[in-house]
């Protein structure tokens, strides 16, 4: 049987296969080690880092929705310094590409973090999170206005040579305007989508379930919206795309790649089926074999024919 080439290159980001795990759903790469060796993955994305440590939001931080979930973790993270000193050394051991998700409240924050990330380490790229819906200032605000989004990328670009992934928010009227803006700002890669803003109410207490009132919707429920945005961005911008949003099976991953994603990222599905990323890698390989593709990258964007 012919071997399928699963390797992918997105601008300066080289991956052994196109399956990543998403920021905020995979901790710092160790939590799923009990299930399999993260070295099998194309790469992992760590929880969003901010310059200072954050306690995040009070609980409840989670709510279930039909085929989806809301989270309002609020960027709880150990902060830049602890990340670099305590977590990064452990990430080195994982033998997989590490993408560091950075979130800021000002342009200076992004500059500071980009500057601080070592260019020679397991860090394969920085994912610039301009789309977190769970924090009061900054976060999503950057990601819903094309001019601010461009500016964040431009500033971050100046402070690192690492490949820059701009992570877009789906909570916008025109995703292609944002994609063009971050391309102009100097992004190398676009990842989408972050979570859709949503809420649930407890009809007994008559209050929002989440302590933060609103949270980010993820999981299979958002898949059709995410897929549509990948399709639109692929047609509008030349940058390679990392597709995510509700991917739980290899069939879902194929849909995203046909829509135009060069790589896919698995988030919420990890919670339900810890082996999902591995099953997706195998399924992609099998799909290519059965359809006669020598390399998985051949299927990227085929739905646009």
């Amino acid at each position: 049987m012919q071997k399928v080439d699963l390797s992918t290159q997105l601008a300066g980001l080289k991956l052994k296969n196109p399956v990543l795990t998403s920021s905020g759903t995979y901790g710092f790469g160790e939590e799923y080690g009990a299930f399999y060796d993260p070295g099998f993955l194309g790469g992992i994305t760590v929880k969003g880092i901010t310059p200072k440590a954050r306690l995040g939001n009070p609980v409840p931080r989670l709510a279930e929705t039909p085929s989806g979930m809301l989270n309002a973790v609020g960027l709880e993270n150990p902060g830049l310094e602890v990340f670099l000193n305590a977590y990064l050394p452990r990430l080195e051991a994982l033998k997989t590409a590490v993408i560091v998700n950075i979130s800021g409240f000002s342009l200076d924050d992004y500059a500071l973090m980009a500057e601080a990330m070592p260019e020679e380490s397991c860090i394969a790229a920085l994912e610039v999170n301009i789309s977190c819906p769970n924090i009061k200032d900054g976060g999503m605000a950057f990601g819903t206005d094309p001019r601010s989004a461009e500016e964040v990328l431009r500033v971050t670009r100046k402070h690192t040579k690492l490949p820059l992934i701009a992570k877009l928010s789906p909570n916008v009227t025109d995703i292609t305007a944002l994609a063009k803006a971050v391309a102009n700002g100097g992004a190398d890669i676009i990842s989408l989508i972050n979570t859709l803003l949503g809420m649930r109410i407890d009809i007994t207490s008559q209050k929002p379930i989440l302590a933060n009132t609103m949270g980010g919707l993820s999981g299979p429920a958002v898949l059709p919206v995410a897929l549509r945005m990948v399709y639109q961005v692929y047609a509008a911008v030349k940058l390679p795309i990392i597709g995510m949003g509700g991917i739980s099976s290899w069939q879902d991953a194929v849909e995203f790649m046909l829509a135009g994603a060069s790589a896919v990222s698995v988030g919420t599905a990890n919670f339900v089926n810890p082996l999902a990323p591995l099953e997706i890698i195998e399924g992609l390989e099998e799909y290519c074999r059965q359809h006669g593709y020598a390399a998985v990258r051949e299927i990227v964007g085929l739905a646009h024919r």
């Binding site: 759903t25 799923y32 299930f35 609980v59 931080r61 989806g68 973790v73 999981g219 810890p274």
Partner: protein, 272 residues
């Protein structure tokens, strides 16, 4: 950690109680410890999406069997109640840290309502020839006590006292009263045995009994509940707040760093 466990039994305990006993055969039993939990997949499709955490109430390592008790609370547990014997369930576990197992002295177990379930496994595990076990259990009413397994305490010949809010069994009122009177009685007897306390139940109850224990200088372990997504420490959805050594507030993951915490560390009703 991820296994397809065979459903050996899945039955309602007392008709109308909504409380089920679920017996699973598979890999979990081999490494399970009292106070840990499993994360169960309850649906076949993507709705309901998330797994449901349920405490391990009994461990039979030889037969490879764990026993769980769950109350039908919403959609997920309702679906679980429909799972038939001989079917398989996708299970992640055992998860969490578990209780400290005392080797001597007295173990005081404080249960609020169905908070008794995880304590069952502790009762089984502790060496009662060395440790004196005492159970104080508060609940809404007699029916709940019976459905949640009072007979088990009798069968184990355990020293226990109960209280009910409606007065239908034991001392009327809250478990805090039960605890206060027990501690009073005990101090009169001026026993010298080292006492350790483990509590499980709703947050208000845990907070109240923890305060009493701390006031009396008793070490107390509390088993917390929080909404969970991953169950393995990856999402930070299920945190509680603790006051760390230096006095600073820190978040801990109930699923990974807990569900059992030292009562004195927990900051109840933390905002921010």
């Amino acid at each position: 950690m991820l296994s397809a466990e065979k459903v050996v039994a899945n039955q309602i305990v007392v008709p109308g109680s909504g409380i089920y006993k679920l017996v699973l055969e598979g890999e979990v039993a081999a490494t399970a410890r009292p106070g840990q939990f499993v994360h169960l997949q309850v649906g076949l499709a993507t709705d309901p999406l998330l797994r449901r955490p349920v405490s391990i109430a009994g461990i039979d390592r030889e037969r490879g069997i764990v026993t769980l008790f769950y109350r039908v609370a919403g959609r997920g547990t309702a679906l679980l109640a429909g799972v038939g014997e001989q079917e398989t369930l996708s299970v992640i576990g055992p998860l969490g840290n578990g209780f400290t197992l005392p080797q001597a002295g007295e173990l005081l177990l404080l249960a609020g309502g169905i908070g008794i379930f995880p304590l069952f496994s502790l009762m089984d595990a502790v060496d009662r020839s060395k440790v004196k076990v005492k159970v104080l259990w508060g609940a809404e009413n007699r029916q709940l006590l019976e459905a949640a397994g009072r007979q088990r305490l009798v069968d184990l010949a355990l020293d226990y006292e109960v209280s009910t809010i409606d007065g239908s069994m034991g001392q009327p009122g809250l478990i805090t009263n039960l605890l206060e009177s027990y501690l009073r009685k005990r101090s009169l007897e001026s026993t010298q045995q080292r006492i350790s306390t483990v509590a499980c139940g709703p947050p208000v109850m845990l907070k109240a009994v923890t305060e009493i224990c701390l006031r009396e200088g008793l070490p107390v372990e509390v088993s917390l509940e929080e909404r969970m997504a991953c169950g393995v420490g990856a999402c930070r959805g299920c945190v509680c707040t603790v006051r760390a050594a230096g006095g600073t507030l820190e978040r801990r993951r109930v699923c990974k760093d807990g569900p059992v915490f030292k009562g004195r560390e927990v900051v109840w009703d933390a905002e921010g």
